[in-house]
């Protein structure tokens, strides 16, 4: 069976510090990978998606970047965090040929920028 991991679970960082959040998927190959942000009281905003190693697409211009160094690893980064980067970050995976690409979510990372 497939599993998705995210770490860290929680993170408190000062403004201007760097960020690295990691997401890994087990039990599948060549998944589509997604990063979402969920701000307090709001829905999910798609930040990045990837259809393969080294292939990253950004949905919105922002202070964040993403990378996919391995097939089942997806990393979200920032060089200098802003207060507005606080939120709950969710990684998800899906396969085009499985259940019309239904997305399965990781446990999330709660980021607080002070």
């Amino acid at each position: 069976s497939q599993t998705i991991h995210q770490w860290p679970a929680t993170l408190v960082q000062p403004v201007g510090s760097p960020l690295s959040l990691e997401c890994t998927v087990e039990g599948t190959s060549n998944p589509n990978l997604y990063w979402y942000r969920q701000a307090a009281g709001r829905g999910l905003q798609l930040l990045f998606y990837s259809v393969g190693i080294g292939q990253i697409s950004s949905e919105v211009p922002q202070n964040l970047s993403a990378s996919r160094p391995q097939d089942r690893q997806f990393i979200l980064s920032s060089k200098k965090l802003l207060l507005s980067d606080s939120g709950f970050y969710l990684c998800a995976w899906g396969l085009n040929h499985m259940d019309r690409g239904v997305q399965y979510f990781g446990p999330g990372t709660r980021l607080t920028v002070l």
């Binding site: 995210q6 589509n32 997604y34 709001r42 829905g43 999910l44 798609l46 998606y49 259809v51 709950f88 969710l90 998800a92 899906g94 085009n96 259940d99 019309r100 690409g101 239904v102 997305q103 399965y104 979510f105 990781g106 446990p107 999330g108 709660r110």
Partner: protein
């Protein structure tokens, strides 16, 4: 363009009562429909999905939803809720682009089940 509207941001209900969480969508093409549930400080868990076929779909935890194409709705229902159903529920539609499925999520409905 695709969009999803969840008409109620919060729904309070007493335990063992029925509940309906409303979802309407707009799309110029055929889409697939989903409901997810999120418990506090956790990721989203798939409740049910409509891909094709019967318009009444059953999911986990006793939930079901009905796809109504003419009304562009996909309302979620449960005949008798439990305290453990307290969570936030998200409706979503997916659109297959040339190489991936893009999901559009509603803003969520918080279900608060009271004893």
């Amino acid at each position: 363009a695709q969009s999803v509207t969840q008409l109620d941001s919060q729904v309070p209900v007493f335990e063992e009562a029925p509940v309906e969480l409303r979802c309407n969508y707009s799309s110029s093409v055929s889409v697939y429909l989903f409901w997810y549930v999120q418990y506090p400080n956790q990721g989203l868990q798939l409740l049910l999905k409509y891909l094709s076929g019967s318009t009444l779909v059953k999911g986990i935890n006793g939930f079901e939803a009905e796809f109504n194409k003419s009304q562009t709705s996909f309302h979620l229902r449960k005949p008798s809720v439990h305290i453990s159903d307290t969570a936030e529920y998200f409706c979503a539609v997916s659109l297959f682009l040339y190489n991936f499925n893009k999901f559009y999520f509603g803003s969520g409905t918080k279900l608060n089940v009271k004893p």
